[in-house]
């Protein structure tokens, strides 16, 4: 059995039961963030989808794949968004290579 149960996503709102004020503040904030603003709701959905992958959150992947489909986002757009997330994530690893190079140069240069 997996630690993740897809049905648990339906219970996300239940987190307010054990901490009502903080839970409500979070959901208010969350709702506000995803409203149309300087960015469209569609653009926000794609950002969320990319972050869902870099965070490797199965619930978020489920939710924002569906949300993207609802907003007419195509498969190609979704995959490109994920590549953006992957590029930043791998870049973040590789840029630390400079730290390694600095250290090698200092110790053994």
């Amino acid at each position: 059995m997996s630690y993740y149960d897809p049905k648990d996503l339906r219970k996300f709102g239940d987190i307010t039961e054990w901490s009502e004020e903080l839970g409500n503040k979070y959901f208010d904030y969350y709702g506000k963030v995803f409203e149309e603003g300087a960015l469209t709701a569609r653009e926000k959905s794609l950002i969320a989808l990319a972050v869902a992958h870099t965070e490797q959150c199965p619930y978020c992947i489920d939710a924002y794949t569906k949300d993207s489909l609802q907003r007419g986002v195509t498969k190609e757009e979704m995959m490109e968004a994920i590549h953006v997330g992957a590029a930043i994530r791998s870049g973040a690893t590789l840029v630390h290579g400079v730290m390694m190079m600095n250290k090698v140069n200092k110790l053994d240069g």
Binding site: R10, A41, Q70
Partner: protein, 353 residues
């Protein structure tokens, strides 16, 4: 990936071709233990029993025959369906059209144009002077055969308001739902409609598109989708149209079959119930519509027609049509009705909330 079927559920002798079987599925399973029934839900908001308001739309289904076999068709339409409205029934409908209080006449199918008496019916019906005369055209019919190529001119002559399905502005998503080649034929048909003036800014020749999702998810915001559709169709093909109606797929017929086969049924019903919007209930289309079937029976909506749920009234057939008696009825509901109350609501004219 689902492959589009080429035959209706009826032709395939699927058990889901039977309305009773569909209603059985919709009334059992998760609706016994986990989710509230639609009746329970609208009791909470004080809308039970659901009653009609003023009649605005007379929707007539002139037959289930269609040149397409779309994956999600709630009519289970296709080339193999033989249910076609006869001229005798059309004459009964015309009598009603001449005297109705409804401001909108809405012809649907199948592909209504495939009824051999379609043009004669439109010619006669247009003389009644009804305010808004809609024909739901699937677009590809215009390109299907030479005899249909002049439909744009015919529609124009009778000032018909054309409403057409278009699930997406990309070929892949459209063809997945509606069949190979449907996107290209639809684009050609839209160009033909534009050419005679349909859908152009400021034109009285109304051309609206209907968007329904290509899979087990709800439609997004209608206004945003309209903006995206308009931009894509203009940029890619120079096509214009007036409004986009975002319609939710109701869990009946071929869409129910798809939901069950793809293991999406429970999740989809949860989505519909969770998205229940009390403010959509007051405006659901069954409160302002009467649906007439190819054989003249009367229903609260096209979906109830497909589920064979006739109006709960002394008057059940077009031959006995009486608006005052019909208006004094309770609307028949089941769990498929959640499709019309989810999110911004859904009707043949798009969102309702």
């Amino acid at each position: 990936m689902t492959k589009i079927k080429t035959q209706s559920l009826h032709k395939r002798h699927s058990e889901l071709a039977q309305a009773n079987r569909q209603l059985q599925i919709l009334s059992n399973g998760i609706f016994v233990e986990e989710l509230p029934t639609f009746a329970d839900k609208i009791k909470e908001t004080g809308h039970f029993p659901l009653r009609p308001g003023t009649l605005e739309v007379l929707q007539i289904n002139v037959g289930y025959m269609c040149n397409q076999v779309c994956e999600h068709c709630h009519v289970d339409a296709g080339p193999d369906r033989k249910e076609i409205m006869t001229w005798e029934t059309m004459e009964l409908c015309l009598e009603v059209i001449r005297n109705t209080g409804a401001h909108t006449l809405d012809l649907t199918g199948g592909a209504p144009e495939m009824n051999p008496n379609f043009r004669r019916f439109v010619e006669e019906a247009s003389k009644a002077g009804i305010q808004d005369f809609i024909v739901r055209s699937n677009l590809t019919i215009i390109r299907a055969n030479k005899k249909y190529h002049d439909l744009p001119e015919f529609f124009k002559k009778h000032n018909v308001h054309v409403v057409s399905s278009m699930p997406h502005w990309t070929r892949g998503k459209t063809d997945k739902q509606r069949g190979d080649g449907v996107f290209d034929a639809s684009i050609e048909a839209l160009k033909m409609l534009n050419k005679v003036g349909y859908g152009m800014p400021g034109s009285d020749l109304r051309l609206d598109l209907v968007y329904n999702p290509s899979g087990a998810f709800l439609p997004g915001d209608q206004a945003s989708m309209e903006k995206d559709f308009k931009k894509a169709l203009m940029d890619d093909f120079g096509i214009q149209f007036h409004n986009l109606f975002a319609i939710t797929n109701l869990p009946i017929s071929r869409f129910l079959d798809y939901l069950i086969a793809s293991d999406n049924y429970e999740d989809y019903m949860y989505q519909l119930v969770e998205a229940f919007n009390p403010s959509a209930v007051a405006n659901v289309m069954c409160t302002n519509t009467i649906s007439v079937s190819w054989d003249g029976w009367l229903y609260d909506c096209d979906f109830n027609q497909m589920l064979e749920l006739k109006v709960d009234s002394k008057v059940q057939h077009i031959r006995d049509y009486n608006e005052a008696i019909l208006n004094d009825r309770n609307i028949i509901i089941s769990q498929h009705c959640y499709g019309c109350t989810a999110g911004a609501g859904s009707s043949c004219q798009g969102t309702v909330a």
